[in-house]
């Protein structure tokens, strides 16, 4: 490793992102280079201060800055985000996207409520259907609940990118969405309570 490499490697080293060989190279360079060692100590001091910051719980002002510049880039893991992204691809204004997603989830819940009661079947069939319906319902309820948790936590921010074209509009849609999500969670919990006495 050479001095020009130091500037970049130091952050990867502090972040624990260097492999064993790179780490050893870095350390041996520090031993042989006084100016890099001095600079390392200065950077390390600031880095240790970072450790005192609370993770996933930035103050509201900082959170606002992140949200203002955020835009969706990762849709691989979240069905809800996939839904939102597909709406975006149809060039529906973002302020409607979450509203539509919410309606879709509410419709899904309604479907699960109505499904077992709306059809008359033979006993055995009903039994089988109910079992599969229970599985589906639990899976859906768990999915929705975990999505809500994710969206209301720091992980939500992590899946967003920066340089939003219209950040203010995005932020405006996020707050009301939070109420919608809480409402959905409440409905899911009520439903579980009613049906299973949980």
């Amino acid at each position: 490793m050479t001095c020009p490499d130091f500037e970049n490697k130091v952050y990867l080293y502090l972040s624990g992102e260097l492999n064993l060989t790179e780490k050893n190279d870095f350390k041996s360079h520090l031993k042989s280079c006084d100016s890099c060692e001095k600079e390392f100590k200065r950077i390390q001091e600031t880095w240790l201060t970072f450790d005192q910051l609370p993770q996933e719980n930035p103050n509201p002002e900082i959170r606002k800055v992140i949200l203002k510049q955020a835009r969706i880039t990762t849709v691989k893991t979240s069905p809800l985000k996939r839904l939102a992204a597909s709406f975006s691809e149809w060039i529906i204004p973002r302020k409607y996207v979450w509203g539509i997603s919410t309606v879709a989830i509410a419709a899904l819940l309604l479907f699960f409520i109505i499904q077992p009661f709306g059809q008359k079947r033979e006993d055995q069939l009903i039994q089988t259907d109910l079992l599969s319906w229970e599985d589906d319902f639990f899976a859906q309820a768990e999915l929705i609940s975990s999505e809500i948790d994710r969206m209301q936590s720091g992980q939500f921010i992590a899946t967003y990118n920066f340089a939003e074209e219209d950040p203010i509009e995005f932020e405006e849609t996020l707050s009301p969405m939070s109420d919608d999500l809480n409402w959905i969670r409440e409905q899911v919990e009520n439903l579980m309570r009613t049906i299973y006495g949980i």
Binding site: S15, E56, N161
Partner: protein, 88 residues
């Protein structure tokens, strides 16, 4: 006696840490947006730099460079407010 002293030191440490956190959050506000993004994603969201580079769609070296400028700027702000602090 030593136990009492160490408890006192702990309390002082906690206060200093709290003070540092408040200072750092204020200082971060003074950084250019692109530097602040990298610091916040690395520290608050605990993402590795390689992941941050993916999210921001920037080369890893650019992200690391921004981190370096952010650290330098934070040190500069600290120096302006508290004067030169020598490493012990």
């Amino acid at each position: 006696m030593e136990k009492i002293k160490s408890e006192e030191f702990n309390q002082i440490d906690q206060l200093l840490n709290k003070e540092k956190t408040i200072w750092l959050e204020k200082a971060l506000e003074q950084l250019p947006v692109e530097q602040k993004q990298v610091v916040l994603l690395r520290i608050y969201s605990d993402l590795p730099f390689k992941e941050i580079a993916n999210i921001l769609k920037d080369p890893l070296n650019t992200v690391l460079g921004r981190m370096h400028y952010a650290v330098q700027n934070l040190q500069k702000i600290a120096k302006e407010e508290y004067g030169e602090v020598k490493n012990q």
